[in-house]
Amino acid sequence: MNNNVYAFALKSTLDEIQSACPDVTNTFIFKDGKILAKGETTDENTADLTINAFDSIMERADLIGGLEAVTIQGANGRVSIACMNDFYLTTVLSKKADEKYVNTLIRVLIPTVIKLVEKIHPTSADDETLTVEPEPAEEEAAEEEVESAEADENEPAEEETATTETPEEEEAPEVDDEPLLPEPPVTQLIIENLGGLLVPSDTVRIDKAVITQWNDLYGDKKIEEVDLETLDGKTTRCKFKHIKNSKHKEKGIIQMPEKIQLTLEVTKGELVMVKPVVE
């Protein structure tokens, strides 16, 4: 998951929490010793020093089975550092703060935001996302000879064009850093086999209606690739084209070459989540 996406979502959430509860004087979130997001009132150096102090406890915490939370009650307020979905949320409350209200708000809001961001942006450069590299045309043609008889032989010209693209063109830039774009919709589709002599092994075929929906949503933005995710959480990124064969249209299917099926460890009939990669 791209940390920038988290940072944007979490910073907004922290700011909202501080707006809603003025008695929350400082907030920040860190992971692996690095600040991921902080409220406007929180000084970065202070946050860094807090993380260092917290890490000192963490180093000794094997004894208690690992550290989940630290709550320090001071004469003028309270500091709480709590683990949430692998992130550590630090909140500083003044003595006047309604702790029950603040804790309820924080313990519901932050994990919800983290889960939402994870759902909406399941892949990025930081992930173990597998990108299917296109193969040279000759090698591909040899492979296709042994592929199933379910070949869609009506589209050879277009397929050939796809295989001659340069590698540079195929490396789509990451789009996770564009928070102002609408979140890419996730569509669940049933896998159908796709094979044939000239069918590229790095391209799936998706219903035209779904692609139109994406184009309507993003207007001028280029969508050249999709992220695929199985129910087991395996992901890959590949190119896509629309389904031409009318008998497969609007059936909620995705036609997938064998190579991508192997990458995702899925087979015909299984479900896969598809999300456009917006440039």
Binding site: T46, L49, I72, Q73
Partner: protein, 133 residues
Amino acid sequence: MVKQKRSIHETAEPVIVDDVTSSEEDQVFTDLSKNLAEIRKTEGVVGYILRSTTAATIDLKEPEKIVEYAILSSQVLDSSREISELFELGDVESTLIEGKEINALCLVIGENKIGIFMEKNADHADILKKVSP
């Protein structure tokens, strides 16, 4: 007048390392020792460490881990003080650390540093009330 006493048992009995003169401070230490001995009987409490500048009382379920528990509680108090200073929270009244298996309540009363270790289901708020009424 200085009296020196040192007794270390390998059982779960309290270990007393005492090197004190009679004073008001010692009285606080003695009272805390008694108080903690009572708290130790509470369900879910697995042990405690009480340290003054000159003496210590330790009663732990796992006596072989005395040093580790002592270092942990000491580190908790040091880090708590640092964090409290950073956010200008004043004197640290108590610190609760929640582990995956055990929770620890650490606090300072006068010159005495206390670490109480308990199972996750133990009522730390109740224990805090008992130790610092």
